[in-house]
């Protein structure tokens, strides 16, 4: 079994105590935009998540995101540098959202994750803890199904004290059981 899947399952197991009444799964796709990172261009992001309902309108979302940034362009020279790949697995805490309710339901999120950034071409491979926050809008079309749109900003501190930042816009769907 692949490592990210194992980690997601582990997060699900350890999140069980906070479960109140519901569980869901979701998937989303979209674009991730590097923020002041000249060595990357916008690329595709795919997210897979579980959603565990908790009291007080909160829910926990163990998730995995796969991002493949686009190849950068430079003004001064022709580059064949490839964009980085980022695999991030973590947990977001959401406040709000549909979770089985019908209609538009906004939500806020904040989370932490492990961000593994690699670029095969230049032998770069780094794993760091990163933070995320964002806003979303969930549209419950049925008790068991919702559409999910979110804007999410990510900051990953680097070893020397700098940071890599990006923002993503994604759309997807959630299934509730």
């Amino acid at each position: 079994m692949k490592r990210p899947v194992k980690i997601l399952l582990a997060l699900l197991v350890f999140s069980q105590p906070v479960l109140a009444s519901g569980i869901g799964v979701g998937v989303s796709v979209g674009r991730e935009y590097p923020i002041i990172q000249e060595d990357q261009k916008a690329g595709q992001v795919i997210g897979i998540r579980a959603r565990l309902q908790a009291p007080l309108g909160l829910s926990f979302e163990p998730n995995i995101y796969f991002t493949h940034f686009g190849d950068p362009d430079f003004e001064d020279f022709t580059s064949d540098l490839e964009g980085s790949k980022v695999t991030a697995y973590g947990v977001d805490v959401l406040f709000g959202g549909a979770f089985g309710a019908i209609g538009f339901k906004p939500y806020y999120l904040a989370g932490v994750g492990v961000y593994n950034t690699s670029r095969d071409q230049s032998l770069q491979d780094e794993q760091r803890i990163g933070w995320s926050t964002g806003l979303g809008l969930e549209f419950g079309v049925a008790k068991f199904l919702s559409l999910d749109f979110r804007a999410r900003a990510v900051i990953v501190p680097t070893q020397g004290g700098g940071s890599k930042k990006s923002a993503s816009l994604t759309g997807g769907m959630n299934l509730y059981f």
Binding site: I35, I36, Q37, E38, D39, Q40, L56, G57, P72, F74, D76, F77, S79, D80, L81, E82, F95, G96, Y108, L109, A110, Q121, S122, L123, Q124, T133, G134, L135, A153, V154, I155, T158, Q159, G160, G161, G162, S163, K164, K165
Partner: protein, 181 residues
């Protein structure tokens, strides 16, 4: 519940603003310095390149706030003047090193640090190593990062076989760094 919702909204919005504010004062930048007038050493055994990225505007803008050297790469053009395919390597030394354009192959191999190993020289004509290709020839990225952080260093290109006559036409040094306050 509404108060809690408002608080969550404020905290989340503040988080986004905090990240966006951070963006204004930190980022990852790429600078490139083209070196065309390469010096052949007095003894004709190697090429001597004085690399100085401190004149670059990006470097000057962020000097003193550099947090990480992310990547150092090259784009090179070299011409083999013989009909025999060969390879060449590059060594570096810090700007205070006694190595210079008068240094011999033996001195460079003994006192320099090998950073690019076995770059190909095709039998005749010009060989072009792209930025993306250069990474697979890098032998000591840590040393390159260390020198790039200083901004000035000496570089020497030496053919693997001493009887090979080649021209190192030009070298583009490309440095990616993360800077912030």
């Amino acid at each position: 519940m509404n108060i809690f919702k408002r608080k969550a909204g404020v905290i989340s919005t503040a988080g986004i603003l905090l990240i966006l504010t951070g963006c204004l004062i930190s980022g990852t930048f790429v600078l490139s310095v083209m070196i065309r007038d390469l010096q052949v050493s007095a003894n004709g055994e190697n090429y001597y390149i004085n690399v100085d990225i401190t004149e670059d505007q990006d470097w000057q803008d962020h000097q003193g706030n550099i947090k990480d050297i992310d990547l150092v790469g090259f784009e090179l053009w070299a011409t083999n003047n013989t009909g025999v395919a060969n390879k060449f390597s590059a060594y570096v030394a810090d700007s205070l090193s006694s190595l210079d354009s008068l240094s011999t192959r033996t001195e460079i191999e003994e006192h320099g640090i090998l950073v690019l190993k076995d770059l190909p020289l095709k039998a005749t004509g010009q060989t072009h190593i792209t930025y993306g290709q250069s990474f697979k020839y890098i032998a000591s990225l840590d040393k390159l990062k260390e020198l790039a952080e200083v901004g000035k260093f000496k570089m020497f290109a030496v053919a693997n076989e001493s009887n090979i006559n080649f021209n190192l036409d030009s070298v583009l040094v490309i440095v990616t760094f993360t800077a912030g306050t």
